[in-house]
């Protein structure tokens, strides 16, 4: 419960979170699926729901409490919320620290 998730578990958790907001679209989701900007599969409230869902699932499934929409995320030139892959990298960084995650 309090073991930190690995990169595959984080990616699965994000797929599930996006699918919960977009029912019936889960088979179409890939790491490259856009969450923000042109071509995004979500509207602005959809993105809010996904971010909150990822936070809540991290807490429930792995006992990890974190805030995804923090200053670090908001101040980056390239938003970590732009697609599923970048969000997974960002969550990995938050959970394990920058040195253990893939550099952006």
């Amino acid at each position: 419960m309090d073991g930190r998730p690995n990169s595959d578990e984080i990616l699965d958790l994000i797929f599930s979170s996006v699918a919960s907001v977009l029912p019936g679209r889960d088979r179409l989701l890939t790491p490259g699926t856009r969450l923000l900007g042109s071509g995004a599969v979500l509207d602005s409230m959809g993105l809010v729901n996904v971010i909150v869902e990822v936070e809540q699932s991290l807490s429930e499934q792995f006992g990890v409490s974190c805030i995804l929409a923090d200053e670090r995320a908001m101040s980056r030139e390239r938003s970590p919320f732009r697609d599923i892959g970048s969000l997974a990298e960002y969550v990995m960084e938050l959970v394990h620290g920058p040195s253990e995650s893939t550099a952006e």
Binding site: N49, Q56, S59, I67
Partner: protein, 238 residues
């Protein structure tokens, strides 16, 4: 999913339950069979089988996240949040230390914001929630000597109205109660003549009671009050 059919099945989170209005409201909901979670910076000093106390500073993000994670893992839901915790600092603005201003804004505004944000994330799952914030008659009365306190409560009113719009799609209402002076520690340091002048300026010229507060809170948190949001109800007619 959705609203509890009665208060008996509700999970209620109240901040500042060690004493005063928070403690009274905790007892009020416990008597009706609700499960109550409460918090304060120190131990509660009282117990009840359906009450869980958290040692938490509402202005500390880490404390708030920990408290909500505990509620999520143990109960999985939250129906009602009552943001009662608050502090006051009565002084002329020209004699108000910056540290006092920061402390009042931190507990009153920052604490209310953090609690609303994290509680709404949990309420969102059930597509149902009732949030009651605490303003004060000091806001509409623009009370001299209460500049920072009134400003912090004014900020809470604006927060309440904006959250009402942002959270409506999750089935969450957000309202505020504005108490008149009540016999609690909050006004203990205020000169009697100052309290009397406030009371004399109210439509109903008496001190407020805990029951006056719970009456308004009860209205806001009823399942039937889903169409009541973004409202502030003041006690006594300021």
């Amino acid at each position: 999913m959705g609203p509890p059919s009665q208060l008996r099945n509700s999970v209620v989170l109240i901040t500042g339950t060690r004493k005063g209005i928070g403690r009274f409201l905790a007892g009020h909901f416990l008597r009706q069979g609700a499960h109550v979670e409460g918090c304060s910076r120190g131990p509660s000093g009282w117990e009840h089988p359906n009450y869980t106390h958290h040692l938490a500073d509402v202005a500390c993000e880490e404390d708030v996240l920990k408290m909500l994670a505990s509620i999520r893992s143990r109960l999985g839901k939250l129906h009602i949040l009552i943001n009662n915790a608050g502090i006051a600092s009565m002084n002329h603005s020209l004699l108000t230390p910056l540290e006092s201003a920061d402390r009042v804004m931190n507990t009153n505004f920052r604490g209310t914001f953090l609690m609303c944000r994290e509680a709404a994330k949990l309420m969102r799952r059930e597509r149902y929630g009732r949030i009651v914030n605490f303003s004060s008659v000091a806001v509409p009365m623009s009370l001299a000597g209460e500049a920072v306190y009134a400003a912090s409560k004014g900020a809470i009113e604006t927060l309440t109205r904006v959250l009402a719009r942002e959270l409506a799609e999750f089935g969450i209402t957000c309202n505020a109660v504005g108490p008149a002076p009540i016999e609690t520690d909050l006004i203990r340091g205020v000169p009697a003549e100052k309290i009397e002048s406030i009371v004399q300026a109210l439509a109903v010229r008496r001190l407020g009671t805990m029951e006056d507060v719970s009456n308004i809170v009860d209205f806001f948190v009823k399942p039937e009050s889903g169409y009541i949001t973004g409202q502030v109800i003041y006690m006594g007619g300021p």
